[in-house]
Point group: C2
Chain length 214, copies 2
DNA sequence: GTCTATAAACAGATAGAC
DNA sequence: GTCTATCTGTTTATAGAC
């Protein structure tokens, strides 16, 4: 078993936290090393010392993001011998947890905006996120979907269906500024997140029902 | 009837096109006025002359985006007296058109990345996009949804359901780097877009069926 | 390992010739 | 309307004291 990297501490950690916050809020390009150092109560030179430069800090943020996500209790590892009903229950639970993670999870505040930026800027975080988190998790979700519907897991159809499921939740996060206007919400707190989750779980049931009937 | 603003021409147009391309690809902050001028085959001073500065060019890009979207044949204006079946047909057509727009439309190449950036950077384009395009269109979609399901249109439930529908398509665009890896696609062309549309139209039917049965 | 001073490049805005 | 030269400020990276 390979040793996991140790969590960062001290100035190094403070700079990474500043990176999550500022890169996420303002984008990578718009954030200056002076701002980063100020938020971390460090000096400008410390960025070069610890990470080699601004780009190195970005990389370190992406790796720390993946490291922390890796410590979250993963979705059920095995779904080979689940009944349809059991698989549906698990899917609902995972999906519901995903919505909570997006809108209220402990990492949602700063780390998630950072990763959303990496995605839209096609930064180095995308590779790390996909290979360590999204890829493996998507495979497991496809297996669960297959167990819940009786379809074969590794088909384009199932993969796309699972992405469409994730996308519904994801949009409410990325498109939050738009959604909030239309819903006349001033923020998306726990009660708004509950409404969203309710809508999306309804969709999940509708999709599963439709596939079971056919 | 208020006169519509005339389409921009010449250097002004060239700068706006450069803005779509570069702001969309690199973000607003990462794009320099020199780059913009070079892509437009203009000089640096022309940005100040035509738009007052870099921020003014961004605003002009957002306005031009909305102006062009406004020339696209709008979704059916009236849906008051549609049967459930007719409303479903219209919803399917609009939704299918939305997927085509996202992945193959003439504006998809440069203007859409620009607006996605505006969304994640919460730029001035969001206001313009919402008030002129998204807001009115969402209202009409809710009316169609209501006609197709028998629900009342202007409820939180219907509004969120319609957003969840849009979000499915939207995700495939924003999360394209992720999706392409998992699907082993090198690009999302028309055949991949057709697969996505097929998946999402299946979801739409499943949702409508579920609501009709209840 | 921390911090400061400085260098070299680059930014956006502007004044003014044409 | 177009283009150039320049001003002023800021950027990242680095060298070197502590």
């Amino acid at each position: 078993m390979t040793a996991l990297p140790p969590p960062p501490e001290g100035t190094r950690l403070a700079l990474i936290e500043a990176g999550f916050l500022l890169f996420g809020q303002q984008s990578f390009a718009a954030t200056s090393t002076r701002q980063l150092a100020a938020h971390a109560n460090a000096n400008i030179g410390s960025i070069a010392y610890h990470f080699g430069g601004k780009e190195g800090l970005r990389q370190a943020c992406a790796e720390e993001f993946a490291r922390r996500l890796g410590t979250v209790p993963a979705v059920a590892a095995s779904s080979a011998h689940l009944s349809k009903a059991e698989a549906r229950v698990q899917l609902r639970a995972i999906f519901s947890g995903f919505v909570s993670f997006l809108f209220g999870g402990p990492m949602a505040e700063t780390m998630l905006p950072f990763m959303l930026r990496e995605l839209t800027e096609d930064g180095p975080g995308v590779d790390i996120l996909y290979s360590r988190i999204v890829g493996p998790t998507h495979v497991r979700l496809c297996a669960l979907w297959a167990a819940a519907t009786g379809q074969a897991a590794e088909t384009d159809q199932v993969r796309l269906r699972v992405f469409s499921l994730i996308g519904q939740a994801f949009y409410f996060r990325v498109g939050a500024p738009i959604v909030m206007r239309r819903m006349a919400w001033s923020a998306i707190g726990s009660s708004e997140a509950a409404l969203i989750a309710q809508t999306l779980l309804g969709n999940l049931d509708a999709m599963l029902d439709a596939l079971e009937r056919s």
